[in-house]
Symmetry: C2
Subunit: 328 residues, 2 copies
């Protein structure tokens, strides 16, 4: 009998898009596909849609491959409880994720926080390859964090470690969806930079194309494009964002003494517009003992891939561990 | 042949006092002694004095006991390098600690950062007994931190993890010995509360006994005594300190999701004067998902004991690991 190629089905649920595909043993994604998440839909609407897409994907699998597990990364997912708990950008409330998915499939299903999944993806295949101590920051609608310590994801006592998006960095600062004020993600995220740009329209007198756009229609990608064209408000918004991010990351280093901090997501795609002011502020604010030792790197994986690859490598290691236990 | 009782010699080097003694298998300290550290002396003066005291202690050991190791906790000590590196409160510069001590003794010597040693002491014998995820904060001349994740001390990539005393909590804030501004320990420490009290003398009009004392002579212990007598400046200084500490700790929780945060040192001895405003500010600033889940506890070990006990349990486990390896 010919041995089949083992693949893992990876799913990354984001606020805007849900990406899925098969991941092979060497980290290649095949049969990749995606669907819009429609964050305002309830879970009752989202999951039947997801199942249809996954069933299509499974039907399309050629007979030489075998699915050995399903790895999912999702916002506000808790590895310990197997639940997604009140994601601010998805109107799901609490979803018993593993209980919901597992009966639908006859293979192991694992659930990870999306930023933790991305951290594992970077560690296996991306910018953090071979690293044992690093921090992963995903800059999307919000700011997600995956922290790796001694080679392992830091889950904390209840599975809620790594919520740096909700670090209070400004007392009495911007209102956050979490109900508090001054959270890092109200400044540093796709939404945060929009808020900054519109604040700056009020504070400064510079001409700017942003003055002709409304808040609802502009995106962080457009702000990046305008900054590349030297639009002064857009440039200023990136400098402001980088200053705050660099300061926050210099504080994170005093906790972890990491090798590197990896930035991914839409805002990281702005490259030097974000990285130059971030690294400047980071090094300026760093305690002497860490200076020059901690790198700030961009994810080397295509946007959205890190979490899928990470989820898959995680479920794969879970499957292998179980096989090893059975073999003993 | 009668088997001897195995003891470990524990040494805790503090900015003011150096404490040493033997620790038995069940965590009892015997033959305890101490000497003044004289932080302004160079290492060339300190170490010969320390060796004399240790030799006295060894001579006093009864013949039924056997020293199996020496565990040392010191400020700015690096477990990986075996060095003490530029402690701000000791005029030592860099000391190759293990290289200096090991030839003097014929047993294994281990060096830990004092706050890491204290964390292990609390985990073995104190308020963190049985805990796998907690943060230890020592409030002395400065603010030290030991972080335990999954039951293990968090060292970081270069052994410098856990320097929360140098979290920047106030942009353009108080000048710190580290050369930066707004570090947590310039507010929350024995020195920090003095600075706060003297700031408040300028800001407020209240009568206060502190108005009759000078900055150089007053201690944090006196401020605590005056606060107990309802001196308004002293009470205010503790409330201000607790507010800042609570806010900083609520941020620390978003990194680690710990079970508890343990406070020790002189300032923690002020009990409810410090703990009431700290816990109030902590719970107020905490992200919802952590509320009511993280305890702020006082060290249950006598001041200075935690680090000695922790250093000893650490060297003991090192000795045992080596014995196990030899046995294989």
């Amino acid at each position: 009998m010919e041995s089949k190629q083992q693949v893992v089905l990876g799913i990354d649920i984001g606020g805007t898009n849900t990406v899925f595909g098969y991941v092979t043993e060497d980290g290649k994604m095949v049969n990749e596909s995606s669907m819009q998440t429609h964050g305002n839909d309830s879970a009752d609407i989202f999951f039947p849609r997801l199942f249809v897409e996954i069933d299509k994907l499974r039907a399309a699998l050629d007979s030489s491959s075998e699915v050995v597990g399903i790895g999912v990364g999702a916002p506000n997912a808790n590895y310990y409880s197997g639940r997604v708990e009140q994601p601010p950008n998805l109107k799901w409330g609490e979803v018993k994720f593993i209980d919901l998915l597992a009966p639908h499939f006859n293979v192991p299903v694992t659930l990870l926080n999306d930023a933790n999944a991305a951290a594992l993806g970077e560690q296996q295949f991306g910018s953090a390859r071979g690293m044992k101590n690093f921090i992963m920051i995903t800059l999307g609608t919000g700011l997600g964090t995956g922290i790796v310590v001694n080679g392992q994801i830091l889950y904390g006592e209840n599975g809620f470690a790594g919520e740096l998006g909700h670090l209070t960095i400004e007392k009495d600062g911007r209102l956050c969806n979490c109900g508090r004020q001054g959270c890092l993600e109200t400044y540093v995220s796709a939404t945060g930079i929009k808020r900054t740009a519109f604040n700056l329209l009020g504070t400064l007198n510079d001409e700017s194309k942003i003055r002709h756009l409304n808040y609802e229609e502009i995106t962080s990608k457009q702000i990046a494009e305008l900054a590349r064209q030297k639009d002064p408000i857009a440039v200023n918004a990136f400098n402001y964002t980088g200053e705050i991010l660099g300061r926050a990351l210099s504080n994170a280093v005093t906790y972890f003494d990491p090798q590197a901090i990896i930035l991914s997501g839409g805002l990281a795609e702005a490259d030097e517009l974000l990285f130059v002011p971030t690294i400047h502020s980071f090094e300026k604010n760093l305690l002497n003992v860490y200076k020059g030792k901690v790198r700030i790197l961009k994810s080397s994986l295509q946007n959205g891939r890190a979490a899928v690859l990470g989820s898959c490598s995680f479920v794969k290691s879970t499957v292998n561990n179980n096989l090893n236990k059975l073999a003993k």
